[in-house]
Amino acid sequence: MEKTLLLVPLFPLVGALLTYVISGKDERHHRMAGWIATFAAVGSFILTFQLWRALSAVEGSVITAHAWTWFEVLPFKVEFAFLFDRLAAVMTLIITGVGSLIHLYAIGYMSHDPERPRFFAYLNLFLFAMLLLVLGDNLLVMFVGWEGVGLCSYLLIGFWHRDMGNAVAGQKAFVVNRIGDAGFLLGMFLLVMMTGSLEFQQLSQQIPYVDPMMIELAAILLFIGAVGKSAQIPLYVWLPDAMAGPTPVSALIHAATMVTAGVYMMARMQVLYSFAPAALSVVLIVGTLTAFVAATIAIVQNDIKKVLAYSTVSQLGYMFMAMGSAAFSNGIFHVVTHAFFKACLFMGAGSVIHGCHHEQDMRKFGGLWRKMPLTFVTYLISTLAIAGFPFTSGFFSKDAILWTVFNVAEDAPAMNHTVVVFGDIPLNLFCWGVGVLTALMTAFYMTRSLMMTFFGKYRGHHEPHESPMVMTIPLMILAALAAGFGFVYGEAFMEYLVGWTRIDMQVGHHALAEHNEVYHTLELFSMGVAILGIVIGVLCYSVCSGIPKALVKHAKGLHNFLVNKWWVDEFYQAVLIRPLSGFSTFLFKSIDRVLIDGILVNGSGMFVEAGGDVLRRLQSGRTSSYAFLMFVSLFLLILLYLVFMPVPI
């Protein structure tokens, strides 16, 4: 059993090496590269599936595999080991499953790109790093995966590196991730100091005995890492720019897998977070704000990939709202469903772009439903899912989150949501309200993108064509999952996960909710919101298309504010980047050059030389002055030491 667990991450690694090795050769090999990579991904999916099936058989439902001792500085020891339990199973299935589909899709999408092998090598490398992150038995192996995926996202975003813009986007992604990782590192150090080890089992035993203040601090620090990786406020700025990469990359990395790493980390460290109520409040607030802000920006975006990017940020905000209210399993459920419909949306957008010859501006689309029926259908289903249309998987997972946020107050002893915001409204109610509003906006902007792309008349000047089968098959599979998964497997999934997380018992358990009439009214209410959003969207962009233009004219200021992404990038540039580079130039120019070099080093040199010049002039060349100086100095010397030396006269 351990052997297969070790093989799961190994497959993509070998795949990556193989594809990279043949990158230099001729055209025939290029095509092969795509298929090698996909086989690697599918292979690891099959292995995971086998492991998942075997998991229930294993007592305590945990499989661990130990590779080797990474490094040990007694008493602190780090092993390279893997852990496969229910949570990891879910995540791995998603990663390898969606990953394989995206690999398949990428073969089509990248079919005429000269550097295909390099692309697929990076994709496989990404899978390897993501699997390390998820399967890691301790925080350090997770951190290896954590930075590994950061690297792969950097490489993939900057894949078309001829255009410096992409390279800058890639670097921005890596650096912002690194800021998060710094927080993660500090969290790990604190945990090592507190408990002496980083293994999850060890941590869960030790944490109850650690001083609560330290737990809060560690939780916050680890959350900073999550913020960096899962693009929450304030470190979300890199995700929209990451759209510079090819669309499969956006689909795989910036929708399904990497961005959810932060959520997985919190789920994995739920023991820590359950002892850190203050940290959870912070997570809740950050999640809510991110969701709201991203949604507002998504409304005004015209580039289809930007819309989806901001929608991802918003949905991630939702997941962290779930985590913030200690509903870890709900969060993971939303991760799964979001992986399905968001990957499908991105791939749909990809096939649209592919069809319209790399055109991304929605204003150039329109009326594509005839030209690209399959893409249209899958896109429609996924839009409904994300909007939370009743009985789609999106509805179930989003509704669950809203529900747990709403009534978390009463029966969650660990949560002290007594924090009051705006007069007397308790925190969670406020978040719930914002969540509902965001749900409305999500429905609206997704419908807007659907309408602008597939309905009305075609505004582009290329001849759009439907994507080949290799691209549409993954679309259909994912669309099906996006539609049906929630409905069919919703209950079973929650049971499966809750069984794993003992803590979830007390908090907003889905089953309990069945008999609670408040839950039912809420359910209906969120259905209404979703439908309302969709209707508004449809109306605005088909029948009375004048309304959006009018709105833009009236709320010029607000529109402008949103178009410029709340001026966040400019804000960072002004507050952070420019002063930092100014300060560094100051450091280099004045401190290094002038102060240390100029004054201290050369200065002392000059001082000594100046002394030399003065004394040189003393050497006048005239003998009598020499004699005079010699005699006077003799006289002074004798006087000097006669005065000081106690000599009896």
């Binding site: 008493p75 602190f76 290896v144 930075e147 590192l185 150090f189 280099f588 080093v601």
Partner: protein, 534 residues
């Protein structure tokens, strides 16, 4: 603890052979006919290769797990002044020896770009190698000082004769800057030797004898200051670093590889080998100062590197930042920090050495080091871009590369010593990514200027052969650093325990000025770890 230092000559001569082999090489080189370059290079290769092989056998024979000195050689040199020629190697110096011989071999192998006076160039490199090897194994104060200064002359000639435009200024500044520190150290060494005579009757400069000396508070601080100054200039520690960028920019490729790869490590090595065991009270008291300067060095080096326009200067300032990490690790006075520091010395040697090779590759082809002159090289020289990527990642400290393990341990040690210092040091990791990746982007990505860099050729087989071992080492240490740590651990543990034990017994300096007491995290980390252990 005393058992560690009272040595008995083990009769074998492998260390002297290792140290003086390059010297013989240099001498035979000077006897060769003037103009025959290929002969000169093959002779130099032979001796450098032999030295490398000897160091490998040394590694094989090295007994793991014991802190005591191995392959000890003891011989009287100046009996009237008690100066003895004592060599010994232990966990601290074994890896540095191998790094020295490896880098010297690679530099000599890659010395194709040196046109005029190749014979003297190779001779200087071999002489430099002797100086470095000698410094790492010498245990007698004067012998150490002799090799320590012997290194300066060939390095001075390397920069001065084969350097760039401002080579004379850079060479002179390098020599005088280091000489100032080392001469003050000489006075301190003499003082130690004599105080040994006062306290124990006979004059001795052997490290083992010095360890039993006891000083007054002010006296210990002053002596420690002399040693610390000499080594801080060598490291280079933050305020004393201005010679490094000039020396690096003007030195020829081989020179700056050795300078960055090995010479800088002597500062840290010297602090651990000489300053800590002899002045435990002072190091404990001044640890906060070193932490502050180390962290300042990290941030300062990173920020200044970010605004550089010359690649070599950028890498030079990155060395200031990296060695700031080592100082932080050293000053944390705990096992994680110390081991991380020693390991990071080796990692820095590999990654920065390779980076200078890379800059050398570009410089030998285009004779310019300005970032603006390059751009979009990925399209023209993909192999170069890949190798450059790997070493950038190693220098940034990505997990699974060698940089990460050392940095993680140092930051962990630093955090345990003082969380605030740890936190600021971690920003160094972020800034590191910032300046290295922005360098990589500006050189490798973006549009390729055909007419200016059109004639660029990718790595030739010789250059590939140079980078191959370094690439292997990057991933080897990154993935499986344990064999390296196993050999380092006993010696660092011995030094650390000795320092703590001495401070526990006679906290001479620390007792007098409690203000210098070490800041500790709310619950003492060590105590916390013990709880877990049992």
């Amino acid at each position: 603890m005393e058992h560690l230092f009272n040595l008995t000559a083990s009769g074998d001569v492998v260390l002297s052979l290792l140290v003086f082999l390059p010297l013989f090489g240099a001498i035979t080189l000077f006897l060769l006919p003037e103009d025959n370059d290929s002969l000169a290079r093959s002779v130099a290769m032979f001796f450098a290769g032999a030295a490398f092989l000897v160091s490998l056998t040394l590694l094989k024979l090295f007994e793991v797990g014991t802190p005591r000195m191995q392959f000890v050689e003891m011989m009287d040199w100046i009996p009237s002044l008690g100066v003895k020629y004592i060599l010994g190697v232990d966990g601290l110096s074994i890896w540095l020896l191998i790094l020295t011989t490896l880098l010297s071999l690679l530099v000599i192998f890659a010395s194709t770009s040196i046109a005029q006076r190749l014979r003297s160039y190779l001779g200087c490199l071999l002489l430099l190698e002797t100086g470095m090897l000698g410094s790492f194994v010498a245990l007698d104060g004067i012998t150490f000082y002799m090799f320590y200064e012997l290194m300066l002359i060939p390095m001075y000639f390397l920069i001065g004769v084969w350097g760039g435009k401002r080579k004379i200024y850079a060479a002179l500044k390098f020599f005088i800057y280091t000489a100032l520190g080392s001469l003050l150290m000489l006075v301190a060494i003499v003082y130690l030797g004599l105080s040994h005579e006062q306290q124990f009757g006979e004059l001795s400069f052997y490290l083992g004898d010095w360890v039993n000396l006891r000083f007054g508070a002010k006296e210990e601080l002053l002596l420690f200051a002399a040693f610390a100054l000499a080594f801080s200039i060598k490291i280079p520690l933050f305020p004393l670093h201005t010679w490094l960028p000039d020396a690096h920019v003007e030195a020829p490729t081989g020179g700056s590889v050795i300078l960055a790869g090995v010479l800088l490590k002597l500062g840290i090595y010297g602090l651990i080998r000489f300053a800590m065991p002899i002045f435990p009270g002072a190091i404990e008291a001044l640890a906060p100062v070193f932490v502050v300067l180390g962290v300042a060095g990290i941030v300062y080096g990173a920020l200044v590197a970010w605004v550089q326009t010359d690649i070599k200067k950028l890498v030079a300032y990155s060395s200031v930042s990296h060695l700031g990490f080592c100082v932080l690790g050293l000053a944390a006075l705990n096992m994680q920090g110390m081991q991380g520091s020693v390991l990071q010395m080796i990692n820095h040697g590999i990654s920065t050495g390779a980076l200078f090779f890379l800059v050398g590759v570009l410089y030998d082809r285009k004779h310019t080091r300005l970032i603006a002159d390059y751009g979009g090289l990925a399209q023209k020289v993909p192999m170069f871009a890949f190798v450059f990527m790997v070493f950038t990642l190693s220098s940034v400290g990505l997990p699974l590369t060698n940089g990460f393990v050392g940095e993680f341990l140092i930051l962990l040690g630093g955090f345990q010593y003082n969380p605030v210092a740890g936190a600021v040091a971690v920003t160094g990791v972020v800034l590191g990514a910032l300046y290295m990746l922005s360098l990589y982007r500006r050189v490798i990505f973006g549009s390729f200027n055909e007419e200016r860099n059109g004639d660029l050729t990718d790595l030739n087989p010789r250059e590939k052969l140079v980078f191959a071992p370094l690439l292997v080492l990057v991933f080897l240490i990154g993935v499986y650093p344990q064999p390296f740590l196993n050999r380092i651990e006993p010696s660092t543990r011995a030094v650390l325990e000795y320092v703590n034990q001495r401070n526990a017994v006679a906290p001479s300096v620390v007792a007098e000025n409690p203000a210098l007491r070490r800041t500790s995290v709310p619950q003492g980390p060590e105590s916390r770890l013990e709880v877990v252990e049992n």
